[in-house]
């Protein structure tokens, strides 16, 4: 199936984007780290917003993801989860099967507890921007780039 990404998203080596039954649309300025898996089992498109971070070894399914979210290392988004904006899914945490996560939700700890966090500060936004800048400069020096067709 079709996998589309907008300009500015960084995919690290060994991450997987599998559009099995429906398309996956990834917005701009996301970071997808190694061994992360983004999987679409549904026929509806999986639409991912902008400025998200998918950390090492996370697994993402679901119906849609907003902007500025952090999916931490080995977190799992399963079933038909819908994620809002500025959410954090902590390390090794899992969402419920049919969860609809509101904006600014944080899932944390061994029992996958939930709480709200503040709106994103400018410091966090600038960290993400600088991270992107760094990776854009550094990754091509050490890795072979695969040319994607950019007609999407």
């Amino acid at each position: 199936m079709i996998f589309t990404t907008y300009l500015g998203t960084i995919l690290h080596p060994r991450c997987k984007v599998v559009a099995e039954s429906g398309p996956i649309v990834i917005g701009a300025n996301n970071i997808i780290e190694e061994n992360a898996i983004i999987f679409n089992k549904n026929t509806t498109p999986l639409i991912i917003g902008n400025n998200n971070v998918f950390e090492v070894g996370c697994y993402v399914e679901g119906l849609g993801i907003g902007d500025k979210n952090t999916i931490e290392a080995r977190a799992r988004l399963i079933g038909t989860t819908v994620v809002g904006n500025n959410c954090v899914i902590g390390s090794a945490c899992t969402t419920d099967l049919h969860e609809k996560m509101d904006d600014n939700t944080v899932i944390y700890g061994s029992d996958c507890l939930r709480r709200k966090q503040q709106e994103q500060t400018s410091a966090q936004a600038s960290l993400h921007l600088r991270h992107l800048e760094y990776l854009r400069e550094m990754l091509p020096k050490y890795n072979h780039l695969k040319q994607l067709s950019l007609d999407g």
């Binding site: 080596p13 060994r14 780290e33 061994n35 090492v56 070894g57 290392a73 600088r130 991270h131 760094y134």
Partner: protein, 188 residues
């Protein structure tokens, strides 16, 4: 504690002059920035990110791993990042001698001391410091910036102090890693 002999496919592993055994099925980025101390085993599916180096010129070491270490299948070693005085950078990671990292563990620590055992499927957060002679149990999540003191056992999510290790830990772990290395033999 006697370990069984572990066999591996001779064609899969590269053995260096210093006795490091590195799987061809692992992903090593920026290998010029990685130092292996010798007699270290890197198994199938490991990822070591030597390309994420500190900003600024000159030759830098990104990942330094000591002697007799074991990186089990699917473990990931990547240096930690932060912004300091407005400059974003990844920072070097140092791993001591006789360190075992279990299957599927993700390590973004600043330092790991010597004689450390990390279990399966652990996540070691950014800039965590693990001192000498520690044990991190399976499935533990060590949050960023944690300092794990010597002779402690950590487990849970977020990882917390659970128990104390005996004084002979150093000898035990040294024996264990040497034993594993000597029994990691090619199948012919």
């Amino acid at each position: 504690m006697e370990l069984p002999v572990t066999y591996y496919d001779r064609a899969e592993y590269i053995e260096t002059d210093t006795g490091n055994k590195v799987s061809r099925k692992s992903v090593i980025c920026g290998s010029q920035n990685i130092i292996l101390g010798g007699k270290t085993i890197i198994q199938t599916g490991c990822v070591i990110r030597g390309d994420l180096r500190r900003t600024g010129g000159g030759h830098t070491v990104v990942v330094a791993i000591g002697r007799f270490c074991l990186l089990s299948q699917g473990s990931i070693i990547r240096p930690p990042y932060k912004t300091y005085k407005g400059i974003f950078s990844y920072y070097p990671m140092k791993i001591g001698d006789h360190v075992t990292i279990g299957e599927g563990s993700i390590v973004q620590a600043a330092t790991i001391g010597s004689y450390v055992t990390i279990g399966k499927n652990c996540v070691i957060g950014r800039f965590a410091i693990i001192k000498d002679c520690c044990c991190i149990e399976d499935n533990t999540i060590i949050p960023p910036n944690t300092v794990v003191p010597s002779f402690s056992i950590y487990d849970g999510s977020p990882g917390s102090y659970k128990d104390e290790l005996p004084e002979c830990t150093q000898e035990l772990y040294e024996q264990k890693t040497k034993d594993y290395y000597s029994k990691f033999t090619p199948r012919d």
